[in-house]
Symmetry: C2
Subunit: 186 residues, 2 copies
DNA sequence: AGTAACGTATTGAATGTTCATTCGGTATGC
DNA sequence: GCATACCGAATGAACATTCAATACGTTACT
């Protein structure tokens, strides 16, 4: 793995464990087996590393979310996307914790958040379609997206904090609850 | 207002705006019209102030949540609690932002979180009752509590970030979605 | 009432540490 | 020989916390 990559990964690990401001560059350098100066060869400053990590993770979203999306049945599509995100977070606890605990203002600027929007616009379109075709209830997309994302995060939280084992049947319950909150009431 | 109170409020305001580590004690002292030394007369250290703020807000929960709880109809009870929390957060954006952005590990230790549990145990009991009496579906309470809390936070987020006006009808939509996700399927 | 003694409240300059960032230099490959 | 990668000691700023000194208020004794 090249040094730039090592610096990013090390920073991610440390920052998730200790918090941004409790993670000195010297420590990052040491644990990445790199000199402090080398870090500044690849990055402008500390915050730029954080921002690069943020963009890296958000870019994953757009790809992960719509992976293996089945044709036809909207409920199945929803379940797939939901589980895609759930599994992504559970399988990448560093990414999850970074998004939950590190990527908050004022560490991540509104500017960077704005730049990340295009990467997840495909999901928006899928939901808009679902609403138009009466698979989903008629509420503002933003509301629906936020609540769905919130549901996944709630499930992930329980799993990661080990407050609930989250065996398969628990996941199914959470998923069913989430679906019932957005499905069209016919 | 006495100095201790002034220090707490000032710290809350600054910490929500700038983040814990970007808020020097010297600034808190200045904006609270107090000498730095005075802060250390009332508090052990910086982190203790943060913890005191955290406990202050969590204690509010227990009180706010069950205010004006109607008798009988469980759905009405749920709506009341949901709106109680929603309105509390919207009316106290500092409290909301503190809980969302500041009160995260490792700033807030697991120890402090544990200490705060008793203050919100009454809600747990209400939900357990709802499950027993088939008003709510039969899922682990922790899951239900987490998802409900998540739903409120999702709504608050949209409002506070001004991504959605969240007029009354929007709030009703969110509330209805939340209720549909937990209500017993008869 | 006068005052001495004592604890609590308050002050802010001084201390010592920690850290992000710089920079002059060396190695490596082209 | 030029450019890019890499190094880490040195710099200087920022900060949490300490502490010696001062003010204030209250009790307690004459």
């Amino acid at each position: 793995m090249d040094k730039k990559q090592r610096i990013i990964i090390t920073m991610l690990e440390l920052v998730v464990k200790q918090g941004v401001h409790a993670t000195p560059m010297s420590q990052v350098a040491k644990e990445a087996n790199v000199a402090v100066g080398t870090i500044y060869h690849y990055f402008e400053n500390k915050n730029q590393i954080i921002e690069e990590i943020y963009m890296m993770i958000v870019k994953d979203y757009g790809v992960v979310l719509i992976a293996n999306l089945p044709e036809g049945d909207f409920k199945k599509q929803y379940k797939t996307m939901w589980l895609n995100l759930y599994n992504y977070f559970v399988g990448n606890p560093l990414a999850y914790k970074f998004i939950e605990y590190v990527a908050v203002p004022p560490i991540i600027s509104k500017e960077i958040v704005k730049q990340s929007i295009p990467y997840i616009s495909n999901i928006r379109d899928i939901f808009l379609d679902g609403i138009k075709n009466k698979h989903l209830r008629d509420v503002p997309v933003k509301l629906m997206l936020q609540m769905t994302f919130g549901d996944v995060v709630s499930a992930v939280r329980l799993k990661i904090k080990e407050e609930l084992e989250m065996a398969n049947d628990h996941i199914d319950l959470a998923l069913e609850m989430s679906w019932d909150s957005i499905k069209h009431k016919g």
